[in-house]
């Protein structure tokens, strides 16, 4: 209300503002107007770009050969099917199972072998956090089992390396392949990210006290191999984004010809029966788009089509209901001259 510092204040504001295009908000501006030309060409360009991309993606996706074999049910005989959980938990039972598959179209190597788990929430918050990155890379931090609960220490309070639920639940089914009774080599090198091997998993960190507890979650690790060479573990620990996921098991470097009979011997060890998770084995080639997935191609084609349709609709609209740009008769005060407002 009152100004105790009045003497300096009038001076403060008395400086004349300096002219600049910036301060006067007069900078040259590009003011895009949605003219019919702009609108139609935008839609057309989207259409023209999207349809070829869609076709290319679709074509590429179609050229991928993929075979998916669900085996979690197949590998249970009728007796065990009644009590799958007990069967899978029992160390004594023979879990080997064999299945075969005939190649329908030629598969160009390398052929990627994936296993796919469904209804497996690898993205559960408890699970995702249950690891310790320091311990994995640094031998000096092997005692650091923070965040690894409830899979952090053994009964002797010894730290588990690698600790945590993710490592504990390591997938332990194995596959062996025979093509026309000839054994196929599965290359399990380089199935994980090189960056993980070099920086996230230490070359001097060896598994310790792993899977010694009362409840065994999955695979055991060879204590003589450093973690950065345990590629199955590395792959597994890159947790999946969605509850249904694939993980790379290995690669077959040779081609598979049409009508080749592939025999697969599966060690069905991993317990997904308890929570109704499915297990699949996938053999797939790859192209620039990745695996077999027509979605992108279809979506691109669809959006491109819709765009072109929009272009046509707007052409029609401009023809049927033309509105000259800047027509003042559309101004609100010209439409309703009576309004006093």
């Amino acid at each position: 209300m009152m100004e105790p510092h009045s003497a300096p204040t009038p001076k403060k504001y008395s400086k004349k503002p300096k002219y600049s295009k910036f301060s006067q908000q007069e900078l040259p501006a590009w003011k895009p107007i949605l003219t019919p030309g702009w609108v139609i060409s935008t839609f057309t360009v989207v259409g023209i770009v999207f349809i070829p991309v869609g076709l290319a993606s679709l074509f590429s996706s179609e050229s991928v050969e993929e075979a998916a074999i669900r085996y979690d049910d197949k590998c249970l005989n009728e007796i065990h099917a009644q009590n799958a959980v007990a069967f899978i938990k029992n160390d004594m039972t023979n879990k080997t199972c064999t299945t075969s598959w005939t190649v329908e179209r030629k598969m160009q190597g390398p052929i990627f072998i994936y296993y796919q788990l469904d209804n497996y929430y690898q993205n559960h918050r408890r699970y995702v956090k249950s690891r310790n990155d320091k311990q994995l890379v640094n031998p000096a931090s092997e005692g650091d089992t923070t965040n690894c609960y409830p899979q952090d220490k053994t009964n002797g309070s010894m730290p588990i390396v690698p600790c945590g639920l993710i490592a504990w639940s390591l997938f332990n089914d194995t596959y062996k392949f025979w093509v026309n009774t000839k054994s196929l080599t599965v290359n399990k090198k380089d199935i994980s990210w090189g960056s993980d091997r070099s920086h996230k998993f230490g070359s001097k960190v060896y598994p310790k006290n792993f899977q010694l507890g009362g409840l065994v979650g999955g695979a055991k690790l060879d204590e003589n191999i450093p973690l950065n060479q345990q590629e199955d573990l590395i792959v597994w620990m890159r947790t999946a984004a969605l509850p249904s996921f694939r993980k790379l098991y290995g690669k077959i470097e040779t081609n598979l010809e049409v009508n080749d009979l592939v025999e697969i011997v599966i060690e069905n060890n991993y317990n997904t029966y308890e929570f109704g998770g499915n297990k699949r084995l996938i053999l797939s080639t790859a192209t620039w788009i990745g695996g077999k997935n027509p979605f992108l191609g279809m979506a691109y084609l669809f959006v491109g089509g819709v765009s072109l349709l929009c272009a046509i609709v707007f052409i029609l609209l401009y023809v049927i209901k033309p509105r000259p740009l800047g027509d003042p008769s559309y101004l609100s005060w010209n439409k309703n001259p009576g309004i006093l407002k």
Binding site: M1, M2, P4, D133, A241, L242, N293, A299
Partner: protein
């Protein structure tokens, strides 16, 4: 009616705002304070008394008058009320304040409560350390207290508490969704930004405090002479000496001045905004003990406790064994400036924070913008969304947990129990039972979805408003070059309100007009002078006085005055008396500058007239131009320089202006011993006491007065009479008795005045022009076209108000004018009801204030439409909302300051429309504070209005650019900003929500915690701010050319609830697209959570950025940098985050970027998400183009043609 309202308002003001009664009186201090007091005390409206103004018909153009007879019922002429003059009022009031104080001699301060100040003995005065020193501190912090105090103050905001609560929740182990540092980051960021801002502001306050505290002042030292001392070292009890034009450092009691009689002139502009000089007196007892170099006064002053009432002071002084009473007229307050007095010496009684100026420097409560209020309503909706989503997650958790109850121990991704035979064997790990898990799931989803409530929006808005304010302040078109004043933004919270103003309440004097009075016309002895005639330079040659402003001289009048022959003709004598009256009958003090005539000026001395009334100053200056220069004025005599001949006039007595008589008179003894009474007053009060009743001069003068009034001039009538010895004696005895009377002094003086103020000889009349400010008519016209209703609230009389209304294009010939004059509430109601019936105004409910006015056919002959605009000219209390809001223009005459606020409040409380009040004087303060937006004009009347305002500027015409251009831009920008922020945060939260549905409701976020936190702080914030500050939908040229574009703000086009819901539907679609497309693309792949999260992060950032880019109206380089730069910044951040091996997402982006799928997915997301929006935008622009759209097209077309 209004009175009740006003009383309520007053109570409200004093109770709610915690402002004491005195500060309201401060607001009243200009103009009508005296009249307002009965209003407050008895609820009797001054308006009732003043509403008796004679309605003289409509002084509009004559052809309207021809048929305006039919309007007569509304121009009812009541008993005539004496003419009343604004400035005289004011003058009278300030005088009477001092005078009345002198009768308070009986007032003694209660000893127990008193402050004892020992004159010139600061040590003894301060030995109890009960008084503060003179150091002032307006800053809130010191280096030490800054952190805790600032934090404490910041956490008063609800938003910050929300932040804090979220961060605290996140620290609980079962809820730790984000890492601890990441979750604190947004809060710390916001706190830091605000702290830096507060710190900077406080540093500036420190600086100005230091400046104040380090000023020098002469203080009487122990060895008896005056030495300079810093202001902050001054203590109560110090004797200080102030020289002319110096500021008073503390509240001091006057002991003596350079004037023998102990008078000091001070300017109180910093205190109450009044620019005129006021007189203060040293007590006669002490004056003699003080010389310019010493002060021999010792004694004790006992005064009241420090308080904020600047109009009262009670104390007494023990001096030489006498108890001398002291009052308001003996104290000079801190912040005042000494004028026209060489020095004053006084003793400090209150210093520093205890001074009245400091006690009064409390800030007005901050206003909140309408947009922000709506925004908060929509924030409520967002909270509901948040609640629903969290409940959905909680419910999902419940269902999931119940269904998997048996498996929880062994489920590889849950494992609630330790089963490894370790030290915790059998213990449960982070599982608290299903009910608690559900609760935790709810709380942790609150943490994940926290940015649904866009806290960052408050910071963004503040930044954007600061940017907008920068552009307003820097605008050269709003810089008043004549007095070098910049536009000022005093409030940063209501920029966007400027784009939605529906009502403007304007003061007249000083706001529409310049408040520089100029003598325009004179009617001398029935003859009109002042038609602008070129003045032959020869006539001017005899003048020896240089005045501040040049006054055009009428040649005929000049010749009449200088006519040598026939000096005793009646006309010649009347002209002489006319100018003597102008010169002598006033209270103006001449200040002669440069007593040594310099050679170049050829002996010309410049005279500056100081007075409380600008009208009187104008009259005296005018008289000087005609050769009658007021040269000296003391209480006993006046020296007039008549063309070089000095005439000493003895002043026998003076009857000052009062509101009852409405005239002023002086009794003068001329050198030839003739005694005359010279009277000057309002026409209504003067014409009845003239001797030459109804003769030709009377008639001519009357006609001239009407003409002047119609031209918008302020009129005064001058008259004189020779007094015979008997009359003089009779008067002198009455006057002497009245002057010394203790009781009923005013009545006795009035009686004495009536003895001589009768049978006067009419000398003539003056017309003073208060010129309209530059560009006012155009501005008002423009604002009216913009759909803004302009109301003028003025203290002037009706005719003047109407003529000003006409001259500033407020009233136009095609308007119906309804004039309501009533002296009683019932009568007023009748008039209003009649007017309503006649013009078919329906009673309008809330928000319907813009109803059409239908005029009855026989009235509307000249009107082409039945919706012809009407103008309502309202007097005093006769104000009715329905009628007033149905009119385009309302002029309220004779409005008191609080009534102004009452009128504003009436509109504000009964409609949803935004109001703006603009004024320049202290009398406008209440109105400015009441209105949604208060604009102060830095004019002649000080800075009080400016101090109370939200925006301050130099000229009324800047309002046009302020509202039509800046207001429009601010509103459009901020409206879009709010919607966009809602969208930006909601789309992100929705996306997280969809993902959580795919993670067994476990509130996992695929995005890294840092990306979640940085999303709204870094990834998307910069373009938001830049576009919010700089985007321009239309050029200012277009906006000024088509004022009706302002209607976009009235129709709330940039932000309304419909837009909010549309935005939310769009948000839902976009979030589904951005979530589903990557999911479907990668559904049968080995993608990991961090890769998908990284894809989502970049996809959503690109999406919201392109969304923004699609809505940018005018691309300038910096926007390109900001918009596209923010995508690069996001990539940069991702690359940095993905290069830290310890984070789980290490190297993700490098892997992704190698695959073409990643890129075409992003493209697909962006296009699919925005396609519907784009199509809808195009379709609506084709089918239902907005005004702004059309104007944009016009702009583009004319640019093409090169005529822009």
């Amino acid at each position: 009616m209004l009175d009740v309202k006003l009383r309520r308002l007053f109570t409200l003001l004093s109770n709610v705002l915690g402002i004491g009664i005195e500060s309201v009186l401060v607001n009243l201090s200009k103009g009508h304070a005296v009249e307002s007091f009965p209003l407050l005390k008895e609820g009797q409206g001054q308006g009732q008394g003043q509403g008796q103004e004679q309605g003289q018909g409509t002084p509009m153009d004559s052809h309207r008058r021809s048929h305006s007879n039919s309007l007569l019922p509304f121009e009812i002429c009541e008993n005539s009320k004496p003419h009343h003059h604004h400035h005289h009022h004011h003058h009278h009031r300030s005088r009477s304040r001092f005078k009345s104080g002198q009768f308070d001699d009986g007032f003694y301060v209660h000893e127990a409560n008193a402050r004892s100040v020992y004159i010139n003995d600061p040590k003894r005065t301060n030995e109890n350390y009960e008084f503060t020193g003179n150091e002032i501190r307006t800053s809130s912090y010191t280096l030490l207290t800054f952190l805790p105090k600032n934090l404490f103050i910041q956490f008063h905001r609800v938003a910050y508490l929300y932040f804090l609560a979220i961060a605290a929740l996140n620290q609980l182990p079962p809820l730790a969704v984000f890492g601890r540092t990441a979750s604190l980051f947004p809060l710390l960021f916001v706190l830091c930004v605000t702290a830096i801002k507060d710190g900077y502001e406080d540093w500036r306050k420190h600086r100005s405090d230091r400046f104040e505290n380090n000023r020098d002042c002469l203080v009487l030292q122990e060895h008896g002479n005056f030495r300079p001392k810093k202001w902050n070292r001054i203590q109560a009890g110090d004797v200080v000496k102030i020289s002319a034009d110096e500021m008073i450092p503390a509240d001091i009691v006057l002991l003596g001045t350079s004037d023998q009689s102990g008078i000091a002139y001070i300017q109180t502009m910093n205190l109450d905004g009044e620019s005129n000089l006021k007189t203060r007196f040293a007590r006669q007892e002490t004056v003699t003990a003080v010389t310019s170099e010493s002060c021999g006064v010792t004694g004790v002053i006992r005064c009241e406790k420090p308080n904020r009432n600047i109009y009262e002071f009670a104390a007494n002084m023990e001096f030489n064994g006498n108890k001398i009473p002291l009052n308001q007229s003996n104290i000079v307050l801190r912040g005042c400036v000494l004028k026209n007095t060489d020095w004053l010496i006084g003793v400090v009684v209150c210093a520093g924070q205890e001074t009245k100026a400091m006690l009064n420097s409390a800030a007005a409560p901050p206003k909140r913008s309408k947009l922000e209020i709506y925004m908060n309503r929509e924030t409520g909706w967002l909270s509901i969304f948040l609640f629903v989503m969290c409940s959905a997650v909680a419910l999902g958790t419940a269902v999931w947990l119940v269904r998997h109850k048996q498996q929880l121990e062994t489920l590889p991704y849950y494992r609630k129990t330790y089963l490894n035979l370790g030290p915790h064997f059998g213990q449960v790990y982070r599982y608290y039972g299903i009910p608690m898990e559900i609760l935790f799931s709810f709380l942790s989803s609150v943490i994940v979805f926290q940015i649904m409530i866009p806290i960052s929006l408050y910071i963004t808005m503040e930044l954007v408003r600061v940017g907008q304010s920068y552009f307003m302040v820097e605008d050269m078109d709003m810089h008043d070059s004549s007095c070098g004043l910049r536009f000022q933004c005093r409030s940063f919270n209501i920029n966007e309100d400027l784009g939605q103003i529906r009502y403007i309440f304007s003061d007249k004097t000083g706001t529409l007009t310049e408040n520089k009075m100029e003598f325009r016309k004179a009617s001398v002895f029935g003859k009109n002078y002042g038609s602008s005639m070129p003045v032959p330079p020869a006539v001017k040659s005899k003048r020896r006085w240089k005045l501040k402003s040049e006054i055009p001289i009428d040649y005929d009048l000049m010749t009449l005055l200088q006519k040598e022959e026939d000096p005793s003709s009646e006309e010649r004598v009347a002209a002489h008396d006319f100018f003597i009256t102008l010169t002598a009958c006033n209270t103006v003090i001449p200040v002669v500058n440069g007593s040594k005539p310099s050679k170049e000026d050829d002996g010309v001395v410049s005279i500056d007239y100081q007075g409380e009334s600008p009208d009187e100053q104008a009259l005296v200056s005018a008289a000087s131009a005609y050769g009658y220069t007021l040269f000296e004025r003391t209480s006993g005599h006046v020296v007039v320089d008549k063309n070089g001949e000095k005439i000493r006039l003895e002043v026998l007595g003076m009857h000052e202006f009062d509101s009852v008589r409405k005239r002023m008179s002086v009794v003068i003894r001329f050198p030839d011993n003739a005694v005359k009474v010279l009277v000057k007053g309002a026409d209504t009060s003067m014409l009845s006491i003239l001797a030459n009743d109804k003769d030709s001069v009377w008639h001519a003068t009357q006609t001239h007065l009407n003409e002047y009034s119609l031209e918008g001039l302020r009129t005064l009538v001058l008259a004189s009479r020779d007094l015979s010895e008997e009359e003089l004696e009779a008067w002198q005895s009455a006057y002497a008795e009245a002057s010394t009377a203790l009781y009923d002094r005013a009545i006795k003086l009035r009686h004495a005045a009536s003895l001589i103020e009768c049978k006067l000889k009419l000398l003539g009349a003056t017309g003073i022009e208060d010129r309209l400010q530059e560009g006012v008519p155009d501005t008002i016209e423009c604002l009216r076209q913009a759909g803004i209703k302009v109301w003028v609230l003025t203290g002037d009389k009706q005719e003047t108000a109407i003529s000003i209304g006409v001259s500033c294009k407020l009233l136009t010939p095609d308007m119906h004018k309804i004039i309501i004059n009533a002296n009683s509430e019932a009568h007023c109601r009748d008039l209003l009801v009649q007017a309503k019936a006649r013009y078919g105004v329906r009673p309008s409910g809330k928000g319907q204030g813009n109803g059409k006015c239908k005029t009855i056919a026989d009235l509307g002959k000249e009107e082409e439409e039945d919706t012809a605009p009407m103008a309502l000219i309202i007097d005093g209390t006769s104000l009715l909302f329905d009628l007033a809001t149905a009119c385009r223009v309302v002029i309220c005459c004779r409005v008191a300051p609080l009534q102004k606020a009452g009128i504003v409040n009436l509109i504000k409380s009964r409609t949803d429309d935004m109001t703006l009040a603009i004024g320049d004087g202290a009398n406008d303060v209440s109105m400015i504070q009441m209105a949604d937006v208060g604009v102060g004009i830095c004019g002649q009347e000080g800075r009080q209005a400016v101090m109370a305002s939200d925006f301050a500027m130099g000229q009324f015409r800047f309002l046009r650019k302020l509202l039509l251009v800046h207001g429009h831009w601010n509103y459009q920008r901020l409206g879009y900003l709010v919607l966009y922020n809602f969208y930006r945060n909601a789309v992100f939260v929705f996306m997280l929500f969809w993902y959580i549905l795919c993670s067994a409701f476990s509130t996992t976020s695929a995005l890294t915690e840092w990306s979640c936190v940085l999303y709204s702080v870094i990834y998307t914030s910069i373009p938001t701010v830049i576009v919010g500050v700089m985007d321009k939908d239309l050029s200012q040229k277009t906006l000024l050319q088509y004022p009706k574009l302002y209607g976009a703000g009235h129709r709330q086009e940039a932000y309304n609830i419909r837009l909010f819901w549309l935005t939310m539907i769009d948000t839902l679609w976009q979030s589904l697209v951005v979530f589903l497309i990557p999911v479907l693309t990668y559904q049968n792949s080995s993608i990991d959570i961090w890769s998908l999260g990284s894809l989502w992060t970049i996809a959503i950032v690109i999406l919201v950025t392109v969304h923004l880019a699609m809505d940018v109206n005018g691309w300038i380089l910096i926007m390109h940098v900001a918009v596209w730069g923010s995508i690069f910044i996001t990539y940069g951040c991702l690359i940095v985050l993905d290069s830290i091996p310890l984070l789980p997402n290490y190297w993700t982006i490098y892997h992704l970027a190698c695959s073409p799928t990643y890129w075409i997915t992003i493209l697909l997301v962006t296009v699919v998400a925005l396609l519907p929006r784009f199509a809808c935008k195009v379709a609506s622009q084709i089918l239902w183009p907005s005004d702004i759209q059309i104007a944009r097209e016009v702009e583009a077309i004319s640019k093409e043609h090169g005529d822009w």
